[in-house]
């Protein structure tokens, strides 16, 4: 495909100028996990460098290494041509590396000026509020980030809080600013302001690393892009040579082995002609007024697996929640078994046979402090044999928990112990089996293979095809194109809350999916259409 460009920096720089930051062979390991391995990275003065990768690709770990939060097991960090080791974040800050985290680290009850001066060794001793506010005003004007120094942080919008975070870092003379998903909490206007300010910062010969998985923003703001996948760097590219679809494909793609798991065994249920559930022009608008789901129409047929591809954060979560009754739609219609559903009521959907393996299952589908038995009864406590005449039969719940654990092949010493005593992988298997049990019509599985090892992934995909063969409509949301292509009958591709296209998986080619994931209109992709 595309070859990485040479690591040389932007042109127009005095010969011999070293990169602001050079990483050589960085490796960072956690028990059982390789978070980073053999990562090389050069960041030059006067560039905005985007770091792109899926969830768990190792972006945050790498930046935590650069800012001294973690110490790398392998490799070296070179600043302005000199090797450095940081034993604490303070040392990284002194060396001119500042990071703005996705979740702000501000004291809500303090004023902007107090937050800027907090823990800053250049803050004057015994400074009055007036002095601190004057200093803050000066800093704010110098760097071009307007803030009100006397305002309390808790009264500020997310965008304003982010400006305070950036100023905190810049006031400490950062020459390299690292931003983790900076636009996740911003409105489009605030994003525009942020980008203007970052360009001004770059113009002064400073450097910015911006972590993101929003492709069009990367295209807009960055000079070069480095892509991480599975903890390793795939390559560094000049943004001018890239386009969103190529970035998307590089980010999620790997050498894909296509195995057709679409073949039905003898006696399997055929794809039902009538859809079980339909979305008709469904849109969702969130609290900030952002459209997270735009005009999505889908038909779910029994006996069919519908894969949903897309870069994380393009509306998959909202789609999942709308399909399971956890989120109300803003407009459009949801039809379940031929009748329109008016209310978003998860109990109604579950009762109609809609199972749901949520993305953050350990947090939202289990009560960690309650027993395994209690957790396994969550979907069936209201129905016989567990629930009868308003009673809850703990014995029947125990039988159910045993059944689920046996199917999930999880060995449990004591069903009365809190479920948090089990490993995360085992908790996941139990949730998956519990949801499959109630999914008599539809199963919505969001990233069901995430965090599992290869054997467990194969088992999980087997569960999905088994359900399909029983005539259940399966919605399979994943970021792994190989899995999607292997089990899905059709694949829908999401971008910015829109369902760009739904294509036949059998003949789908990866380049087309990549282009749709990057926001290309399907009409542009028609043979003979404009390219």
């Amino acid at each position: 495909m595309n070859n990485p460009v040479s690591p040389a920096g932007p042109s127009g720089m005095a010969p011999g100028t070293p990169p602001v930051l050079q990483l050589r062979g960085i490796g960072k390991f956690f028990p059982g996990v390789i978070a980073n391995k053999d990562v090389d990275l050069d960041v030059w003065p006067g560039e905005i460098h985007a770091l792109l990768g899926e969830n768990g690709a190792g972006k945050s770990t790498l930046m935590n290494v650069v800012t001294g939060i973690y110490q790398p097991e392998e490799g070296e960090i070179i600043l302005d041509g000199y090797g450095q080791t940081f034993t604490s974040p303070q040392e990284a800050i002194r060396a001119g590396i500042g990071m703005v985290h996705q979740h702000f680290k501000l004291v809500q009850a303090f004023t902007v000026a107090e937050n800027i001066h907090l823990g800053w060794d250049e803050a004057p001793r015994l400074a009055s509020p007036a002095v601190m506010e004057a200093r803050t005003r000066e800093i704010s004007e110098r760097f071009g980030f307007p803030v009100d120094p006397a305002a309390r942080v808790c009264d500020l919008s997310a965008g304003e809080q982010q400006r305070v975070e950036i100023l905190r870092v810049l006031a400490r003379r950062a020459r390299l600013l690292i931003m983790d998903e900076p636009t996740a909490v911003l409105t489009p206007e605030e994003t525009g302001e942020l980008f203007r300010a970052l360009r001004a910062f770059r113009a002064q010969g400073n450097a910015v690393i911006i972590i993101s998985h929003k492709l069009d923003e990367v295209m807009e703001i960055s000079d070069r892009v480095s892509i991480l996948r599975g903890g390793r760097k795939v390559g560094t590219f000049r943004t001018a040579d890239c386009n969103p679809s190529m970035l998307a494909a590089t980010m999620v793609g790997r050498d894909i082995v296509r195995r057709n798991m679409r073949a039905r065994p003898e006696g399997a249920a055929p794809i039902a002609p009538q859809p079980i559930m339909q979305l008709r022009n469904v849109s969702v608008r969130d609290d900030r007024g952002v459209d997270t789901l735009r005009d999505v129409s889908l038909d779910l047929h029994g006996g069919e697996i519908l894969g949903i591809a897309g870069v994380a954060g393009n509306g998959q979560r909202e789609l999942t929640h709308v399909l399971t009754g956890l989120m109300a739609r803003t407009s459009g219609e949801i039809v379940l078994d031929g009748s329109v559903v008016d209310r978003a009521d998860p109990a109604l959907f579950a009762h109609a046979g809609v199972g749901h393996i949520p993305e953050d299952r350990l947090r939202s589908a289990l009560a960690p402090s309650l027993s395994i038995t209690t957790n396994m009864a969550l979907r069936e406590y209201a129905h016989p044999p567990i629930g009868r005449h308003g009673l809850y039969d703990a014995g029947a719940a125990g039988v159910l928990a045993h059944d689920i654990a046996e199917l999930a092949q999880v060995r449990i010493p004591d069903f009365g112990m809190p479920i948090r005593n089990l490993s995360g992988g085992n908790q996941q298997r139990l949730v998956a089996r519990r949801e499959i049990r109630i999914a008599s019509r539809v199963l919505v599985a969001a990233y069901p293979a995430r965090g599992l090892d290869i054997g467990a992934i194969a088992t999980m995909l087997g569960y999905l095809t088994d359900l399909r063969d029983q005539g259940v409509a399966v919605v399979f949301i994943s970021e792994d194109l190989e899995d999607l292509l292997n089990v899905s009958d059709r694949i829908g591709v999401m971008f910015h809350g829109r369902m760009m296209d739904v294509i036949d998986a059998e003949n789908a080619d990866i380049a087309t999916i990549g282009m749709l994931m990057g926001g290309r209109e399907p009409t542009d992709l028609q043979p003979g259409g404009p390219r």
Binding site: L326, A347, L370, A377, Y392
Partner: protein, 353 residues
């Protein structure tokens, strides 16, 4: 060579907690004995006196049960609220509200006991529920922190009781201070001065334990308290469950007030709640979220209260009892925490760190 180290586990087995609590109480008693000896009292003599006048005599046992009765109900009120993850700090106020409502029925309605007493019971429960209504609705619909709202209403209920017992309802017959006249109906007595409220309170606590573990409603409450997000995911109407649990909690505390008026004091008096509402929080904390544990916890608390009265007869200040309560709770908290630790064998790290 292997060294011993301690690891904190997320859960502690019940048997270990119980053992460490007994140790904690024993340690507290030793400290108390030491301090008493230093201040010139004979710990042995005091201990004997306390044992004889609480567990060791019929009058002592009767007193103990009278103390336990309101503690069982307020302890259950706080525990049941805690099951859904909320703190009812207002059992004291709901106790007064129940007592006031029951007294109102008794003062205003003259009839056979079989009619008046059930009406007083209903009034007491409704009084407690009414007192928690505003915090309940504020919590369920506006997310207002129930700890603050329930706490603040305590002072209003207490002052309302003082107003009624010195104003419109003051005792015009015997002229008792800050009190209504003696009520014409009372809870029938069961054993000595112990009224039927005591076994009823025990049955209520046991019943609640069954309801929480053996009904659909109880399951939903436990799930809603342990992880509200998972409860919503399963379609449990968490808001409605919060409302029902808080009203139940208020009703239990109100019933405690009614029992106290109709069974023990036989009149409404200013200050009659005697911190039973606040001690209910202590009982609930000791019970660690289990309704059945409320019974031994209430017994322990009643013993401490009763001992305090005995000690006051020995020229020890009333605040001594507060200090003792605090010490025992402090030691038990330490014991509970220690129950989480388990020794693990570790080998010293070799090579690079």
């Amino acid at each position: 060579m292997a060294t011993r180290a301690f690891q904190r586990l997320p859960t502690a087995p019940a048997g270990r907690i119980l053992a460490l609590r007994l140790v904690a109480i024993a340690v507290s008693l030793c400290i108390i004995a030491g301090v008493l000896a230093l201040s010139g009292h004979s710990p042995a003599m005091l201990a004997e006196l306390i044992l004889r006048s609480t567990l060791g005599s019929r009058f002592g046992l009767e007193d103990l049960m009278l103390f336990m009765c309101p503690l069982l109900l307020t302890g259950a009120a706080v525990t049941v609220c805690g099951t859904i993850g909320l703190w009812n700090i207002g059992a004291e106020g709901q106790f007064y509200a129940g007592a006031i409502a029951a007294t109102g029925v008794a003062l205003g309605l003259h009839g056979p006991v079989l009619v008046v007493l059930p009406l007083m019971t209903i009034a007491g429960i409704l009084g407690g529920m009414a007192w928690i209504t505003v915090p309940t609705l504020a919590r369920a619909y506006a997310g207002v922190n129930e700890i603050i709202t329930t706490l603040l209403l305590n002072f209003i209920a207490s002052l309302l009781t003082y107003y009624l017992t010195t104003g419109p309802w003051r005792d015009r017959i015997s002229g008792a201070q800050v009190s209504t006249q003696r009520l014409s109906v009372s809870m029938p007595e069961m054993w000595g001065i112990v009224h039927w409220g005591f076994p009823v309170a025990i049955m209520i606590v046991v019943g609640l334990a069954l309801v929480l573990s053996r009904t659909r409603w109880g399951y939903e409450i436990r799930m809603g308290g342990a992880n509200p997000e998972a409860a919503r995911y399963a379609g449990i109407p968490v808001r409605l469950r919060i409302i029902s649990v808080m009203l139940l909690s208020g009703g239990l505390a109100g019933l405690a007030g009614m029992f106290e008026v109709a069974g023990t004091v036989h009149r409404l008096q200013g200050g009659m709640a005697n911190n039973f509402g606040y001690l209910g929080i202590v009982v609930a904390v000791l019970a660690r979220g289990s309704c059945l544990n409320v019974i031994p916890a209430a017994l322990l608390m009643a013993l401490i209260l009763d001992s305090g009265i005995v000690m006051q007869t020995q020229q020890l200040s009333a605040s001594v009892i507060l200090a003792i309560t605090g010490l025992i709770l402090f030691m038990i908290a330490i014991g509970d925490e220690l129950a989480h630790y388990r020794p693990v064998a570790t080998t010293p790290a070799k090579g690079k760190a």
